[in-house]
């Protein structure tokens, strides 16, 4: 009885495992397959090739897929947003965690309520505003969108700062340290895990965003990977599928590695998010 139950569990686990892996594996294999069509009669390609990867970085007259440019754009936007966003978020969290100033409770509530407002519900307004300011189709607009609201996600960092004992700062104050000094030489070094967590999530967020990127960026040379890949499918209607698969693999690799690295923070971050928003 017990054994058959276990065996059944293993069968289920293997089935779920296959389902979880299949799309990724299939894409990986497709990216090495000769030819460019979506259809293939075997799961494992008959003839292997690296051509599609080479093709991604080569200019061809018959189509406009400037993959290298997209990659560079995405990297640029994601990195700048990460720096700005992390800075803003840390400053906010630190201010709310360590200082008891007038209006603090009210502002905390305001941050909570504003944080609930899903950013992209404002796309209509942002679109109109950027359109009027002639910022549409610039990557700065995208960076602004990604980092300006970062303050609203500060609750995880605030929770972390709350756990750093105050006695450390009190000692530093007695030694004559300024506020800035305390922040840079005591709080920041102690908060390395949370700083890593925030920067990686901001980076990944900008890397994978599609909604705002498609709204703001219009010319193919300015696109990020998300918009570019979407467009390959949309415009070429799956006729360049193997190329697309190769593109996907290259996009997914850095994020997947980052993710595996941050996995240990993930549970904390998620549960904190669940209880605090």
């Amino acid at each position: 009885m017990k054994r058959s139950k276990l065996a059944l569990s293993y069968v289920l686990l293997i089935l779920i495992g296959c389902a979880a892996l299949y799309p990724a594996l299939w894409t990986l294999l497709s990216s090495f397959r000769v030819g460019n069509s979506l259809f293939s009669d075997t799961f494992i390609p008959r003839h292997w090739t690296l051509d599609h990867y080479r093709d991604l970085f080569r200019d061809r007259a018959d189509r406009s897929i400037p993959y290298a440019t997209w990659y560079w754009n995405t990297l640029k936007v994601a990195t700048i947003s990460m720096v700005l966003g992390t800075l803003i978020q840390l400053l906010t969290a630190y201010a709310f965690s360590r200082f008891r100033f007038k209006g603090r409770k009210t502002m905390l509530t305001v941050v909570l309520i504003l944080g609930m407002f899903p950013g992209f519900l404002a796309i209509t307004a942002l679109f109109v505003i950027f359109n009027m300011l002639n910022l549409l189709d610039t990557q700065w607009a995208l960076i602004i969108v990604y980092s300006a609201g970062a303050a609203l996600g500060m609750f995880v960092a605030k929770g972390f700062f709350d756990t750093i004992p105050r006695s450390l700062e009190e000692a530093a104050v007695i030694d004559g340290a300024s506020h800035m000094k305390i922040f840079t030489s005591i709080i920041l070094p102690l908060s390395r895990p949370i700083v890593t967590y925030i920067s990686l999530t901001t980076f990944a967020g900008a890397w994978v965003d599609f909604i705002f990127a498609r709204m703001i960026l219009r010319t193919p040379e300015k696109w990020t990977l998300a918009v570019g890949l979407w467009n390959i499918i949309d415009a070429y209607n799956s006729t360049e599928f193997t190329l697309f698969a190769a593109g996907c693999v290259l996009v997914a690799i850095p994020i997947t590695i980052l993710f595996m690295y941050t996995q240990r923070f993930l549970v904390d971050g998620l549960t904190a998010g669940a209880s605090k928003g």
Partner: protein, 400 residues
């Protein structure tokens, strides 16, 4: 000196900003038009309503910030005066100013790119800013009060779409949340069973879908479900069955988005539930063993209540998240299959994807803004319900 700055400030507000505020009220009175100059008519640039609106909102924000600082100043001066009269010590500036210094940049960011768009959205919803007849600089935009909402609820062209999309949005949110939530619990329990080996390996394996960027996996899924060439239908054919129109038939498209969403959503719930399972005290199970409880009884009376209790807020955040689950719908089906019954929307469109299309593709800004406001009201109600019940906010000072 101080008096001078005050005077200057008041002057600026009164003289410079007032026209903008007035512009916000009127939104301009002349569109681009022709004027007769002698015998030829010349095109004259008229008022640009949307520019006037942005300027007006900015002016209003500046005035508000200024007023706030002004009031705070006076209050502070009054307090300091009181303290001097009572012969108490006066606090220095530094201690109070530093947190505000830290908050200055975040504050500006939030003010201009979160608060202003929200205000702006609410304003647009009450205008007639939409193509083809009210797009500046060619035409003016006017305040129309609740006419946009009236249109959305009562005018057949719009109300059919609105209520159709709304119904599907709610059905979708319930289905997506329930399947992912219980799917996640099941998988977590399966892995956590006594006697299963390589728990870490299984966990890693099942987390893979979550590690791949969503837009990548969704675009891949879109290809896999391709009716003619996709591998899924190829397998069906290999077994002599006919393939299914996964993304092209209203019913099957809905089915596909829910299933694909499970693939993406279950890992998240699984990770969370696993975290919770390790938190359940072993004493409870030992006590149950002493009382001779069966495995099923332990599950029903300890594990399940514990998980449900710990994840209840999560359930609601996931529900609201699914209402706004833009990616899954937009990248997988794009809201299609299209239908003649709806205005600018397809059978699987959610309210968010619909408003995205209305804004970007059809320039129906006022309707889109009205829809965002309605979604927001709904979500805010849900969220407030959750937050007032979370203890972490109330007890935040407990740790120190």
């Amino acid at each position: 000196m101080l008096l001078l700055t005050h005077a200057a400030g008041i002057y600026i507000v009164a003289a410079q900003l007032f026209p903008y505020l007035e512009g916000l009220m009127t939104l301009g009175d002349k569109g681009r038009h022709f004027e007769k100059k002698g015998k030829i008519s010349v095109m004259v640039e008229g008022d640009h309503s949307i520019f006037m609106m942005i300027h007006g909102v900015l002016a209003a924000l500046v005035v508000l910030v200024f007023l706030l600082i002004y009031i705070l100043n006076i209050r502070d001066a009054y307090r300091v005066g009181l303290r001097i009269q009572q012969g108490k010590e006066i606090h220095g500036l530094k201690n109070d100013v530093f947190p505000w210094l830290l908050l200055a940049l975040p504050f500006l960011g939030v003010l201009f790119f979160t608060v202003m768009p929200i205000i702006f959205t609410s304003l647009i919803a009450f205008t007639n800013y939409a193509s083809p007849n009210h797009i500046p600089p060619k035409n003016l935009v006017d305040w129309v009060g609740f006419a946009t909402f009236h249109k959305l609820f009562n005018l057949n062209v719009w109300s059919n779409t609105f209520f159709g999309v709304l119904t599907w949005t709610i059905i979708w949110a319930i289905l997506a949340t329930v399947t992912c939530y219980f799917g996640g619990i099941l998988v977590a329990l399966l892995v956590n069973q006594k006697g299963i080996k390589f728990k870490g390996f299984w966990r890693m394996l099942f987390i893979i879908p979550y590690a791949i960027p969503q837009f990548v996996s969704l675009l891949i899924m879109k290809n896999m479900l391709n009716e003619k060439f996709g591998p899924i239908n190829a397998y069906f054919r290999a077994f002599g069955l006919e393939g299914l129109p996964w993304l092209n038939d209203p019913f099957w498209a809905k089915f596909s988005v829910v299933v694909v969403n499970m693939w993406i959503g279950i890992p998240v719930s699984m990770v969370l539930v696993m975290g919770i399972l390790t938190n359940i005290s072993k004493d409870l199970y030992e006590a149950a063993d002493v009382d001779g409880a069966s495995a099923w009884m332990k599950f029903r009376n300890i594990t399940m209540p514990y998980i449900l209790f710990a994840t209840a807020p999560l359930l609601i955040t996931q529900f609201t998240g699914n209402i706004n689950n833009f990616n899954v719908i937009f990248l997988l089906t794009g809201g299609n299959p299209a239908t003649m019954d709806y205005n600018n929307a397809g059978r699987t469109d959610l309210l968010v994807t619909w408003l995205y299309k209305l804004t970007l593709d059809f320039n129906q800004y006022n309707i889109a803004a009205a829809v965002s406001i309605l979604i927001f009201l709904f979500i805010a109600t849900m969220a407030i319900l959750v937050y007032t019940r979370t203890k972490s906010f109330k007890e935040e000072d407990m740790i120190q």
